[in-house]
Symmetry: C2
Subunit: 261 residues, 2 copies
């Protein structure tokens, strides 16, 4: 994760830990490495994805980095034996040739991420893997309505005019395929559209409060944040109608790329 | 799989075995059963999905059924210790309460499959799982062009007017959620859009020749089949442009449902 103006909240991010960890599990399940001497969790967040790498490859093989001090503190507390450092994926370079570079839900915050992905793939040992997962939800109501609420109120419209720019858009799967096939032996790309079962529209707001809403909330005062969230939650109630049991399904498409060097 | 006019070809179906087995693996990975006394592979095909159940639960726990004699012969040869029977998912009923009912790429051939899924879920033991995967590709070029080729030639247009009816359309994920949540403790629904890397448009035709194209090819003479396939392959070359390395990405969306009774 990349820090913006204020730090990330690790505790609130993990309120939906099962749902947030599933894409990382699904990604790692498609990496057919029996062992690894050097596996790096790039943008490790609070360490929930790092823990999956440790389960598979052991403590000695795994390291992680993130830009957020709060996330790093949480990750270190969770996995005391692991080396975590503060670094930015946009410029980070591995020492030596890694067996696995793992990027779970981080590259959407990195400008020009296709070029970054190719640069990183070149650093892998032959036979090593790059594994990437990115939310591809900018066209979903969850994100279209963030932009709509930002534009709808003269109190904050000017301040939030560039908030949507914090995210780099996921591009067509064929673009990742072509870019990585040029430097890799094998490339697999897929998209999974999760339908997370949440208690209601308020839970959708809480889900994104710690991720996608941050560039919209950070520039606002406490009172404005509350008003923004109330308006956003109302729109979520419209966009995600209740199922028969009263819950809502949060549709969340995510792009996956697994490439073998 | 459900037989139509001629039998299924197990050997040609397995020409893409890795790609065809991956959705079954992905489905089983989301079934958190440590063990099972009774796991049934419904519409087992040539046994590649059944083999995954055997790896997880052991030979004694697993059985399978299919409508196709050729598929059943292949499955029996592959897994000699397993009880395979000829049966149709539309009417089949389990003996006793199964721990797992597994339906990989079969329910799209069963009319009114949502009602069938609910009927089957009710037969599970408490805590047992229903696991379903269905291709959701009727709106993809791969299938739109089957219908277009069928309608385009007066030699066969009348005979193929109902060919598309063989498939039951996948409905909105929320419909499966509501139908199953009424009889289950927990329901998860997701869609994965695979992008299978194939050698070219001819490989797309070979992929569907043993599945989706069957209702279109079966009513035709040998010569007509060859003409149909040539026209279809031409359209695939238009619809799936080559990647930089000359290969094509076959976009194939599949719906998954995992429900715990």
């Amino acid at each position: 994760m990349t820090a913006t103006q204020t730090d990330w909240s690790a505790a609130r991010y993990l309120a939906f830990e099962d749902e947030r960890t599933r894409p990382a599990r699904d990604l790692l399940a498609q990496v057919p490495l029996d062992g690894a001497a050097r596996a790096v969790d790039m943008g490790c967040g609070p360490g929930n994805s790092t823990e999956l790498l440790v389960e598979r490859f052991g403590t000695a093989a795994v390291s992680g980095f993130d830009t957020s001090p709060d996330m790093l503190a949480k990750a270190r507390a969770r996995l005391p034996g692991i080396a975590f450092e503060q670094a930015d994926l946009a410029t980070w370079q591995p020492d030596g040739e890694p067996d696995l570079l793992f990027a779970n839900a981080v590259l959407q915050w990195v400008p020009d991420h296709v070029a970054v992905v190719v640069r990183l793939a070149r650093t892998l040992r032959p036979g090593g893997y790059l594994a990437v997962q990115m939310p591809d939800n900018l066209d979903e109501p969850s994100h279209a309505e963030m932009r709509a609420v930002a534009a709808s109120d003269p109190r904050w419209a000017a301040r939030l005019a560039r908030a949507a720019d914090a995210r780099d858009a996921v591009v067509d799967p064929g673009v990742y395929y072509d870019a990585l096939q040029a430097v890799c032996a094998r490339v697999e790309v897929w998209v999974t559209v999760y339908h997370h079962v949440l208690e209601g529209p308020g839970a959708i707001a809480r889900w994104f409060e710690t991720t996608g809403l941050r560039p919209f909330l950070n520039p606002l005062s406490q009172a404005e944040q509350a008003d923004f969230l109330a308006a956003y939650t109302d729109r979520m109630a419209q966009a995600y109608p209740a199922q028969a049991d009263g819950r809502v399904l949060l549709r969340l498409p995510r792009l996956f790329v697994v490439a073998r060097r």
